[in-house]
Symmetry: C2
Subunit: 514 residues, 2 copies
Amino acid sequence: MSTDTGPRGRRSGGAEGRRSARLHAVAEKVPFITRTMTPLEVLSAEGLELIEHNAETILEQVGIDFRDPDALATLKAAGADVDGERVRFPRGMARSLVQATAPGEFVQHARNPANDVRIGGDATVFAPAYGSPFVRDLEGGRRYGTIEDFRNFVKLAYLSPYLHHSGGTVCEPVDLPVNKRHLDMVDAHMRLSDKPFMGSVTHPDRARDTVEMARVLFGADRLERDCVLLSLINANSPLVWDATMLGAARVYAEANQALLMTPFILAGAMSPTTVAGTTTQTLAEALAGMAYVQLVRPGAPVVFGSFASSMSMQSGAPTFGTPEPALVLYVLAACARRLGVPFRSGGALTASKVPDAQAAYESANTMQPTLLGGVHFVLHTAGWLEGGLTMGYEKFVLDADQAGAWHAFARGVDLSPNGQALDAIMSNGPGQHYLGSAHTLANFETAFYRSSVADNNSFEQWELEGSRDAAARASAAWRRMLAGYEPPPIDEAVDEELREWVQRRKASFPDSNV
Amino acid sequence: MSTDTGPRGRRSGGAEGRRSARLHAVAEKVPFITRTMTPLEVLSAEGLELIEHNAETILEQVGIDFRDPDALATLKAAGADVDGERVRFPRGMARSLVQATAPGEFVQHARNPANDVRIGGDATVFAPAYGSPFVRDLEGGRRYGTIEDFRNFVKLAYLSPYLHHSGGTVCEPVDLPVNKRHLDMVDAHMRLSDKPFMGSVTHPDRARDTVEMARVLFGADRLERDCVLLSLINANSPLVWDATMLGAARVYAEANQALLMTPFILAGAMSPTTVAGTTTQTLAEALAGMAYVQLVRPGAPVVFGSFASSMSMQSGAPTFGTPEPALVLYVLAACARRLGVPFRSGGALTASKVPDAQAAYESANTMQPTLLGGVHFVLHTAGWLEGGLTMGYEKFVLDADQAGAWHAFARGVDLSPNGQALDAIMSNGPGQHYLGSAHTLANFETAFYRSSVADNNSFEQWELEGSRDAAARASAAWRRMLAGYEPPPIDEAVDEELREWVQRRKASFPDSNV
């Protein structure tokens, strides 16, 4: 994109050399982000206590519907007030259950241990977008996703140094039968990437298949010891957990695997329009879901999830990147910290159909709270378009580039002597530029985050190169990435066993599209 | 953009009605943003003390060049160590001078008092971009700016409910002679808008002209009492204040008018590459400049300014929306708070040539720190493209829309009973949507920020309407705005006097392009 006319680095020895080496180390690929700043708080402790108090009032007086007989029996046995499908929790019960046994943070292991991710504390983990039936690229436009698209996005996430996780349903492979596509999806995550990934949740049987495949990949006894699967369980808001989701959650919890218990809320439709009302309801729903998971298997890793969007009050359409869901995120991140469990929310969300200025503004407006609020697990970090209906190739590249920038931001301000640069300023003096100063030469390689898709050239140079906008540059980028893809090595015996297991399983029941 | 199929509001009486009225009031046009959150801190008090200590070391041991004999005399008389153009400040001297007399916050008055802005404290004021020689729109492409473009941007800022300020050189009217264009620029701000505005700084004589015109508009005695002009004085970093800027600053300070004393830094070229080094140098430069202003006229309003960008270490080009300048902003905002003066920084900055995803991502990445860091005066809120070389019509509309969203965010979380919405959740119950609930109907009109350019429609509807991206929609928006523009009323005698003054002044010296 540009010629090398800038300053070139020289390595110096001694302290300067070690410093330089350290800077290179931090600029290298890391398995997850370690945040150095205190999360931004938008409510005082009193405000948060009020939200918590109201959530307990809802759990106690309204209750939550659990549309699953096993869950009802489990909750009743634990002391909840069960009336039909309605479960009312004595004040403090759900919270106590969660705090008693849910881990404050945990590691999700990848088949490549260098890619293990820590979920909780000061760590932030980026995963791609999830669940789109459509895909889009600049040349091909919008179309239904296929298993080839799915594999492409697994490859792109594998290739990005700034995505830590392979995700789950990165797009729906609608060319495969509904009741078997999970096998190919999990297979793709396991084989085409060596980053951690998510399990199927669309049916308890599919969750079981995921667990079995994980046992093949990681070894049967490993799952009792380690978390290797993290799966997304959505509440059916307001105040309902349904049978499919609870069934899948139970399978994973019994296998000691992690769950994102996530109320999915379009405020104004599935919750009140207000920030405080939406956070209160989300907290109540999540507490109930997490408490149930802890009853199924005390100590199973569980993450407090929130997906909240606003809506267009003209059309009823969901809207993204607006200020109100950003406030919801900040409040709920604080609630999760107070509860003592990891938090999932955020992402590069947008209602835009294409990777344009709307898409980027809206995405940034959610990613900023995601990082500044201290979200631990970020679904939808890259690729999301059109309210989640479409996974975009160019959007993926643009978002992943932004994810890279967050790595630099999260490191915070370097106050080492090299960072202070006092000697550099003292020896440089008024009116002298720093381009050739020893300090600049020692630091320039890692001084600033380098975007792979931003064009910072002169207008004339940009015009000469075709006046391409960000989407056009991103289109070239993902094609280049896929062309250079090579799969990570996999143990031959495991590869063979996995292949056989999937073939056998596929042959064991007929295709169906329900 | 969409049909009204969503819920419609009904006003109810009593508390609900008053609440509804209050919501409407806050959603209406406000003259500036009042932030309700504590600013985000990225450094501890110890870290900030270190930066301050180092800045004092630079002021004491290296010093700052003041390339103006009057300034040197003034600073020497005040006790600074003056050696040629070099001014060294005894440790703490500059800080003490600023803290002794500079106001912690002040009001800049507009000719319409409803548009007076508060600068400092919990207020944030949005002004358009400043200083571009080029303009760009979707149809006309990139071209040199003219006085017609200038007037268009003054009109657009006047028409936007989310820009609080008319700005200064919203673009360079390069069709006018260099030595007279300030007269037409100031005239446009005075006549086509009734929001506060900025003065000319390109020559002390032009600053004097601005002051004289303000005396005509506001009354000669008014300036002694009130701040009606706010002007941008850039340092010539590193560590230099030049004669033109100091001369203009002196004119305004003597007239008791406000100044943004702003080191303009491309880190790596005009400061060290590091965040701590850049903040240290900026603080030293700003302290020296502000101290001088306080010596010229104790109590003249002064704002600590910072413009800092990173650079591409491959090409040497400035880069925007990157993580390092965001950190610089957070640190310097904290330094300004500790010093006790208002802070200017931020804006919707980008290196992109067009209003694409790069432009929006980079702009959001600077506007987020701008608000969350607690910036008081925001130049470049709308329109900036191509590192400030170009003022974009579509970018202006997209940025101004984002400025609107910040009004909603800054209000924070409503914890009133209506905001808590506990009754709404209690009475709604599991599985029931909220679209028709009394609470939703009472709140929907002001529940969520409504973007004027985002498209949240279905893909099918969007396609039916021409598959327009954000830039295309923004193009229609600014044309619509300009077509509906009507100038604010102006007193006829003042109008006449102003016209005569400008004509007389223009006739008093020959045109020149230097």
